[in-house]
């Protein structure tokens, strides 16, 4: 029993350290606070894949009653620990992602036109900013054929599990 608890404690300690490391990367003033706009990046860098809406929910939990534009580590740590322990916002498996692209590719051509993808990403769901759209296109569009071969794209962008 004690051993199990030891293992659990070790696991929590490891999670805490991971969160601390990720937080510190964005703590520019070394005072255990980060700009609230970086929270999404930090959470995602820890392996979670929340939607913008889910991010807002998390923020609501950790922000001060009177938002200062900064998030304190003390409030971030417990919430984030829970998120990681409960394995919330798991990343999307490659095959599910592929299916998502296939939904957009209604004609089942195996590729998407840049205009199609742009329309989807900028108008549907939680729309991209122009910058995000341009960045995505710059990597996704096959320069010779001027289409998005989404199967290749998804494979290329596979992110290593942290």
């Amino acid at each position: 029993m004690a051993e199990e608890r030891e293992i659990a404690e070790a696991m929590i300690s490891e999670i805490h350290k991971k969160i601390t490391d990720a937080f510190d990367v964005f703590d520019h003033e070394y005072n255990k606070t980060v700009d609230v706009r970086e929270i999404g990046t930090i959470i995602r860098s820890l392996g979670c894949c929340p939607s913008e809406g889910e991010l807002h929910d998390i923020l609501a939990e950790i922000e001060d009653e009177e938002p200062t534009g900064y998030i304190n580590f003390d409030r971030f740590l417990p919430t984030m620990t829970k998120v990681l322990m409960e394995r919330r916002y798991r990343p999307i498996p490659e095959d599910v992602l592929l299916q998502a692209f296939e939904v957009l590719d209604q004609e089942k051509k195996g590729y998407l036109m840049p205009e199609q993808l742009t329309k989807f990403m900028s108008e549907e769901g939680e729309p991209f900013t122009q910058e995000e759209m341009e960045e995505m296109l710059s990597a996704a569009v096959d320069p010779d054929k001027n289409v998005i071969l989404y199967k290749d794209y998804v494979t290329m962008m596979a992110v290593e599990a942290p």
């Binding site: 003033e29 070394y30 894949c49 998502a100 939904v103 209604q106 960045e135």
Partner: protein, 685 residues
């Protein structure tokens, strides 16, 4: 193909658009996660480069505590004081142009077209003859001598002034060449790092001579012969100028020491290379003899010296008393562990005189006067610095080496080893004292080429793009008219980077950083292994990821986020554990010589101290021939090994010498040697 507007059945269309929306959210979620990941990688890469660069600067200053270098530096100062001899000494008139010299010709007094022609010539990769280099440097020196320590500039003629900092890499002049209509202020650090440093200097000095009222040059911390020894400028000059290189370098040191320290625009904007400290006082700075401080790295000797010129234990050359064991507050350093001052430099804390005594006994100093000049402790003419000189010296060092931080206060800059970290309160105080509205400085590379801090009272401007690696950062310069409102121009000099995606750019820069980091880790292999073994209670050769990260940080002390970097550095893990022996093998590179038990500590010392080694070699090579004798080679190793407390046997040194193809009859070519040990990536990724 937006939401299908088919109207066959309401349900179907709803379902379809709902599916499309869900698909879109999925993709967006996934993509945002991806870019976040990329962003973190980018930041880590940045931190890696900075850590390694700054710890290199610190190393540089540590090595300086070896007394022999100080002596050499002092000899040099005496020469400098004999100015009348200089022109005779440099005697460029007797340097004849070789037949078939196709490079640019200069005649004095220089005109604007000469200067422009020089720019063109360098663009076409031409080489300026040593004769002209020396002549140009002499004329520059004569001009600089007339200038005050602080240049005062005004925008009253409706001109826009352009300020650049840290040029280092050849500028493309898309802002236009300096002219009467286009005044420039160059904020230091013209050399080291790039391959065309001497050419940059020639151009800057040429324009200074042509437009002395419109071109203003501040001194940077790299306008310093000791820093140049380490960071490559000395090597560049020797390679390009061979026979005349030594003369050129000596004249350069004089010219550097005469560079003004600061520039003020309209009595409102202060421009200096590094930063300030609480004690910065421009009135004091205005009165000092700036040329006395040939190298800001070398502190004038303190008054209380013993008979033999031994320095008090614990002091080191930057005025930071390393015996002070109070830890640097963790808030000043990245990483969650505070780094006590006294753990940073174990070697430095040994009393220098004790070191030297041991060295000399071990090396068995011969009567060779050249060597003994370097290592001798006795010094018939002591240079005793007064309190005033030390205070002046500190003013200079602070200006050239300090960095702004967000924490209030003013503490020693332990990362660089000189100058201070100054906070917004110091900025406020100093600016108010002098009635300034803005401080412009350089000294630190910025991702976007420029950055404000301290409530927009401090502006860092960095003009060398792609400083660390292709795609690493943009460069910027700032233009201001009489309204003194800064306008920025950013650029990234490369035709190819524009076509690279962010992912490719990050990857490329990151690969470079990871490679450098791997080298550092490899260099500390023995310490790491020892630490891992201590941690590995079960002695199975494996440790947990957590322990790995903690151990690596405690050994390397770089303040890096190891857990985030782990996937880049450790390819294989089995259920949360790392096989550390296998990891070292993976880290290993193609080694030019076979590693034996005897040679392994030598190799490690070599990799870890490659820069220091090179610095010492070049100092020993007093005739700057690029060659040192085998005996000097051996003595250097002995000196280094005792200074670092490692054992290196004679046998190992001989083996090392034999294994490299020395083809210069008993002499060792420094460059060949250093090249042979450049680490090669066994697994280019």
């Amino acid at each position: 193909m937006g939401c299908g507007s088919s109207t066959t059945t309401v349900d179907y269309s709803l379902k379809k658009s709902e599916r499309a929306m869900k698909a879109a959210i999925l993709i967006q979620r996934w993509y945002r996660r991806y870019t976040a990941h990329l962003e973190v990688r980018r930041r880590c890469t940045w931190t890696i480069f900075q850590s390694i660069e700054y710890s290199g600067e610190q190393d540089q200053i540590k090595v300086r505590t070896l007394q022999k270098m100080e002596l050499k530096g002092m000899m040099f100062e005496k020469e400098i004081n004999e100015e009348m001899e200089l022109e005779k000494y440099y005697d460029f008139e007797n340097i004849h142009l070789s037949e078939g010299y196709k490079g640019p010709h200069l005649c004095f007094p220089l005109t604007a077209s000469h200067a422009a022609a020089l720019v063109e010539a360098f663009r076409h990769k031409q080489h300026l003859h040593a004769r002209y280099v020396l002549q140009l440097l002499l004329e520059t020196w004569k001009l600089l001598k007339l200038m005050p320590n602080i240049n005062r500039v005004s925008t009253c003629y409706n001109k826009e002034i352009t300020v650049c900092g840290d040029l280092k890499i050849c500028p493309s002049w898309h802002n236009g060449l300096p002219s009467v209509e286009k005044p420039y202020i160059f904020n230091g650090d013209y050399v080291d790092r790039g391959k065309d440093s001497i050419e940059i200097l020639m151009i800057l000095f040429a324009f200074l001579l042509v437009y002395p009222n419109q071109v203003h040059l501040n001194r940077g911390n790299h306008e310093d012969y000791i820093v140049n020894l380490r960071y490559g400028f000395t090597k560049e000059v020797m390679q390009k100028y061979k026979v005349h290189g030594k003369k050129i370098l000596r004249l350069l040191q004089i010219v550097f020491s005469w560079l003004p320290l600061a520039t003020i625009i309209d009595q409102k904007i202060l421009i200096i290379h590094g930063g300030i400290s609480r004690s910065t006082d421009l009135d004091v700075i205005a009165t000092i003899d700036r040329h006395k401080y040939v190298s800001a790295v070398k502190q004038p000797k303190r008054r209380k010296t013993t008979r033999q010129g031994q320095r008090q234990p614990g002091e080191c050359c930057c005025g930071i008393n390393r015996n002070d064991s109070s830890p640097v507050p963790s808030t000043y350093r990245s990483g969650s562990d505070s780094r006590p001052l006294n753990s940073i430099s174990k070697g430095v804390r040994l009393s220098v005189d004790k070191e030297l005594e041991r060295c000399r006994k071990q090396v068995g100093l011969s009567d060779d006067t050249r060597v003994s000049l370097l290592l001798s402790e006795s010094d018939t003419e002591q240079y005793e610095a007064s309190e005033l000189e030390n205070a002046e010296w500190k003013q200079v060092v602070d200006i050239l080496w300090s960095d702004p931080v967000n924490q209030e206060g003013c503490i020693p800059n332990v990362v660089r080893g000189g100058g201070c970290y100054f906070g917004p309160d110091v900025t406020k105080e100093v600016l108010e004292k002098h009635n300034f509205q803005l401080l412009i400085r350089s000294h630190e590379c910025k991702q976007d080429g420029y950055e404000f801090c301290h409530n927009r009272k401090v502006l860092t401007i960095f003009s060398a793009s792609n400083y660390y690696e292709e795609g690493s950062n943009r460069g910027a310069y700032v233009r201001m008219g009489p309204d003194l409102i800064p306008h920025f121009v950013q650029y990234q000099s490369s035709k190819t980077t524009r076509k690279l995606t962010m992912r490719q750019r990050v990857s490329r820069v990151e690969r470079s950083a990871i490679r450098d980091l791997r080298e550092q880790l490899f260099a500390h292999r023995c310490d790491l292994l020892r630490a891992f073994e201590q941690c590995d209670k079960t002695k199975k050769g494996k440790i947990s990821l957590n322990d790995w990260a903690n151990t690596v940080e405690s050994v390397m002390q770089l303040g890096l986020p190891w857990r985030i970097l782990r996937s880049q550095l450790v390819p294989n893990t089995t259920d949360g554990h790392i096989d550390y022996q296998a990891w070292f093998e993976h880290l290993a590179i193609e080694q030019p010589i076979k590693e034996t038990p005897q040679s392994s500590s030598l190799l490690e010392t070599l990799y870890r101290n490659r820069s220091n080694l090179e610095t010492i070699f070049r100092l020993i090579d007093s005739d700057s021939s690029g060659l040192i004798s085998f005996e000097e080679f051996r003595q250097t190793w002995k000196l280094l090994s005792s200074h670092l407390n490692t054992e290196i046997s004679d046998q190992a040194i001989s083996d090392l010498a034999r294994s490299i193809d020395f083809n210069k009859d008993g002499n060792i070519d420094i460059n060949e040697f250093m090249e042979a040990f450049r680490l090669v990536d066994r697994n280019p990724s």
